[in-house]
């Protein structure tokens, strides 16, 4: 019995380790590469997993001081924050209106809004490409600020509807009996109870702007206005020469913090995903 238990535990750990290895090995490879010297990296006889020459920080110096990496970081951060604000300002009232103030057709409209989320950027980037150049936003990060909410607003509205629905309507009615107006009942009662939904929206929207590739690739053409997701793979390659160490450093510096933040808010995000899905 004891033996069987231990065998089972062993199998469990082995399987988990296998999955983790699959997920994490590219990152391990990125981290090792980051600290390697050229002559160590580019000799195929060397064991690639060991430091045959002493590790170096020079690649990080190149990344931060000789490339536009910090510009990309700032652009991504700026676009992310502005889009999060726009999304919250549009999606919170819309979701509340659809759950509480629109009667039965609110449900239908909620589904319709979610269907908008299913329209992928790949279908829209070609007309957008022309529209953006017509209104003179080509090569400006404001084009991204304008367009990203088309992805985040439908999804976040739907996400928030799930959260608002889970709040008992009695609470708002009680607040209104106590003399709050409809609007104040929403601000003072519903909003504080929806904090985890709002956090989910912030995390989702920010990472969406960080991840988005095709719009950023199509609309932005100069390196000073690139965001991380396009700037790193496109601009850090000079000619045909890949600066692999700096490239890997650039990727891993973003990946690890976002991964930890994601894990932290995972439960909120999952709650939102499934709540919306299950409750339609």
């Amino acid at each position: 019995m004891n033996l069987l238990y231990r065998a089972k535990r062993g199998l469990l750990y082995a399987t988990v380790a296998l999955f983790c290895f699959f997920s994490a090995s590219p990152f391990l490879w990125m981290i090792i590469t980051t600290f390697k010297q050229d002559r160590d990296l580019y000799r195929s006889k060397n064991n690639p997993f060991l430091f045959n020459d002493p590790p170096t920080l020079d690649n990080l110096r190149v990344l931060f001081f000789e490339t536009k990496y910090t510009t990309f970081l700032w652009n991504s951060f700026f676009v992310g924050v502005v889009v999060v604000i726009i999304t919250l300002a549009i999606a919170i009232p819309a979701a509340y209106s659809l759950t509480r103030m629109s009667g039965r057709w609110g449900e239908q409209a909620g589904i319709a809004i979610f269907l908008v989320y299913l329209v992928p950027p790949t279908l829209l980037f070609i007309p957008f490409f022309r529209v953006i150049s017509k209104i003179g936003l080509v090569d400006s990060i404001w084009s991204l600020v304008l367009v990203y909410p088309t992805i985040s607003v439908p999804f976040c509205t739907w996400l928030l509807m799930g959260f608002f629905k889970s709040i008992p309507i009695d609470l708002e009615e009680a607040a209104m009996v106590d003399g709050y107006s409809r609007l104040m009942a929403f601000v003072k009662v519903v909003m504080p109870l929806s904090v985890s939904g709002i956090i989910a929206v912030i995390v989702f929207t920010f990472t969406l702007t960080l991840h988005e590739f095709i719009y950023a690739l199509t609309f932005i053409s100069s390196s000073a206005h690139r965001t991380l997701s396009v700037g790193v793979p496109i601009e850090l390659v000079r000619g045909d020469v890949f600066y692999w160490q700096s490239l890997m450093a650039a990727a891993v510096i973003v990946a690890i913090p976002v991964g930890i933040v994601y894990d932290f808010f995972l439960d909120h995000l999952v709650a939102g995903l499934t709540m919306g899905a299950v409750k339609g």
């Binding site: 983790c20 690739l217 409750k279």
Partner: protein
């Protein structure tokens, strides 16, 4: 709409004014989202369809309708047909692998073990990383000359002269059609597995414990419990996972754009990447739009799936 609402608001006298104000507030609340979606999704969507029936190019501002000419042109190219096939192939194969692995992973993460927190962070990493940066990592991992996988294969004598993977010292993963296709699928599985696993995990925790306990008491074994209780109960949530997986994978061009650029030759091209190369880099917006429009049927299937599952929810 106001009539409808007044009708639904309960009967008490005096609620009429509140209902009216509520209707107004409701409209005001909804207006920004409505205007935003109509102007920035509705209009471009109509434009996308219009473009695909016109001879619009990147340089030329005027355009004329040319009927089905774009569709005739793109259907005649082998690149497009290959892209259509590859899109379906990559998506379906990856999603099958992903759903199986994700179910296993969700089962594992439902158990308690030491280091679970760390495991969770590691498992979520591929999904948290911007897809372009993750793909760049794979590009280096699968490098034609310096791939560490090659080094391991050589070290255990599977690669090199006189071994089963042939006399060459390098596999050249992205340079051979079959290997490149397999590489693309592996990168997709790597990237989208966490998303599906997370969704399934949430579904698994929502299964009523009592049902499982009762099944155990009744002597149901592991496989029976899995196949006759868990799988049917998980099915709606598997649909959600598949929906998200399909939509995000089907329309993705990043992996192809950075990993293979459609190569070798054009054998790993997908619709989204081909639309980009054709429409933006090649300047033939009309043909690009027509190519992207082929994503529509699958999209529609997704839409129908959502509508059906929500209807089922209402019935039960």
């Amino acid at each position: 709409m106001p009539d409808r609402m007044a009708f639904e608001v309960p009967e008490k006298a005096g609620t009429r004014t509140l209902a009216d104000r509520e209707g107004l507030l409701g409209t005001l609340f909804l207006l920004p989202a409505f205007v935003y979606i109509i102007t920035l999704v509705g209009i471009p969507l109509v434009l996308a369809i219009t473009y695909s029936f016109s001879n619009v190019t990147a340089g030329n501002t005027a355009f004329d309708f040319n009927g089905l000419e774009n569709f005739r042109l793109i259907l005649a190219t082998p690149q497009f047909r290959r892209a259509l096939w590859d899109t379906l192939y990559f998506t379906i194969v990856s999603q099958i692998i992903i759903i199986i692995l994700a179910t296993a992973l969700a089962e594992l993460l439902a158990l308690d073990f030491r280091g679970k927190r760390l495991a969770r962070v590691l498992l979520i990493l591929p999904w948290a990383t911007p897809i372009s940066l993750g793909t760049i990592g794979w590009l280096w991992l699968l490098d034609s000359k310096f791939s560490p996988i090659d080094w391991v294969l050589r070290a255990i004598h599977l690669l090199g002269p006189g071994t089963i993977f042939g006399p060459g010292l390098h596999m050249n993963y992205l340079g051979k059609t079959n290997l490149a296709m397999a590489s693309v699928i592996i990168v997709y599985v790597w990237r989208f597995l966490p998303l599906s696993a997370v969704i399934l995990m949430a579904g698994l925790t929502s299964i009523n414990r009592e049902i499982l306990d009762q099944a155990a008491v009744d002597g149901s074994g592991f496989w029976r419990t899995l196949l006759e209780i868990k799988v049917p109960l998980l099915l709606p949530i598997v649909n959600v996972a598949l929906l998200f997986g399909f939509i995000s994978m089907f329309s993705d061009m990043t992996v192809i754009f950075l990993l293979t650029r459609g190569g070798p030759v054009y054998y790993t091209q997908v619709l989204a990447s081909w639309a980009y190369f054709k429409g933006v880099e090649g300047g033939a917006l009309g043909e690009g739009a027509a190519t992207a429009l082929f994503l529509f049927p699958v999209l529609l299937a997704g839409v129908i799936m959502v509508l059906r599952s929500t209807r089922r929810m209402e019935v039960t």
